[in-house]
Symmetry: C2
Subunit: 213 residues, 2 copies
């Protein structure tokens, strides 16, 4: 996952301006908020033209979304690799854990980790960004459904289960993420995201079946 050949100069240059744009955007967004940051400000900070900006990102939202660690591709990959003995929900849970573990390393710089959290909160609190984010999640959900259907060898058109499972899992994951972001914001620091997710998954059964009292 996440590998890069140190190819030609052209490639590297491109990668560099892209990174610079991202970094400049991050600084400005976190300092002034998303809406109050113009594309011109971002490009000025990196000293490229506005036109160039829109060659790297389809729109302003995409810069912000690109700042969030995504991991969806990784998830798909890990999910494909899970042993076929597991039932789908187990496989999803395990793949998520692997995805999470795999990226812990470069995240320890403190300042970086903190910025990551702030970005989550920024997205969560900016309607347009949240909308775009939800849209992206919906797309990822479809991919998950497809992989699950393939894994289990069921017809993805007829059988509702893959889509339902993907939908429910995504919903739970998103709820957990929401919760985690909020908690981390309140200084209730430390709890691992995956731990939060597990707590949510554990409550899934009770929430659906039992009488609550």
């Amino acid at each position: 996952m996440v590998q890069q050949a140190a190819a030609g100069l052209r490639q590297r240059k491109k990668q560099r301006t892209r990174d610079e744009l991202l970094q400049a955007a991050q600084q400005l967004f976190l300092r002034q908020g998303y809406a109050r940051t113009t594309v011109d400000e971002i490009t000025a900070a990196v000293d490229v033209s506005q036109r160039t900006f829109f060659r790297y990102f389809a729109n302003k939202e995409q810069v912000a979304l690109a700042l969030m660690a995504d991991g969806a591709d990784d998830l798909i990959h890990y999910l494909r690799a899970r042993p076929s003995g597991e039932n789908p929900l187990q496989a999803l849970r395990a793949a998520t854990r692997e995805t999470w573990d795999a990226r812990g390393v470069p995240e320890q710089e403190g300042a970086t980790a903190n910025a990551a959290l702030e970005i989550f909160q920024l997205v969560e609190s900016t309607p347009t960004l949240l909308a775009a984010h939800l849209h992206r999640l919906a797309e990822q959900q479809q991919m998950i459904a497809a992989v699950v259907a393939e894994r289990e060898g069921v017809d993805p058109v007829t059988d509702l289960r893959p889509r339902l499972l993907a939908a429910v899992f995504s919903a739970v994951a998103r709820t957990a993420q929401h919760e985690w972001t909020a908690a981390a914001g309140r200084g209730v620091a430390g709890e691992d995201f995956f731990r939060v997710l597990e707590r949510h998954l554990d409550q899934l059964g009770p929430a659906l079946t039992a009488d609550w009292r």
Copy 2:
């Protein structure tokens, strides 16, 4: 639900231009697509200024969303009215059925019903609109969670179940809606939305627990 006093002339006039804007927007959106329709075109059709348009709708997306029968407020209302003996999931299911039944009547004009479907498909196929729609659903989901928590008398902050239930139910409902829209588009006409939703809810257990084979 949905009641209107035939109040002063001022009120009626306002309602009228709002309706006209909606209708004009609907026509244009369905004819030319969302992106290729400008706000100026809409206002020209109704003969009001662009400025007025934005006094009625916060942005272009909102007109489109307003064209979709919403029913969220109704759902909340019905949900509150459900007998407290029911467990939450049952209550949600029943409230949804009531919401659905309550609006069947004025929808039979054929042409209207067909346009409604087309709007769903328009939203589904237009990224910005879909994003906005998902965002709205997320807000409604929060309201559902709040009502459920209140209904069951549990702490909405500590207890994860209300939010999880709302999230899962919304996810299933959305999946069903997606399915329904697609099916209706393929001419596999006739199946009641609520029927589709029930099929999905029935598959929820199997999708989560069982080994799929």
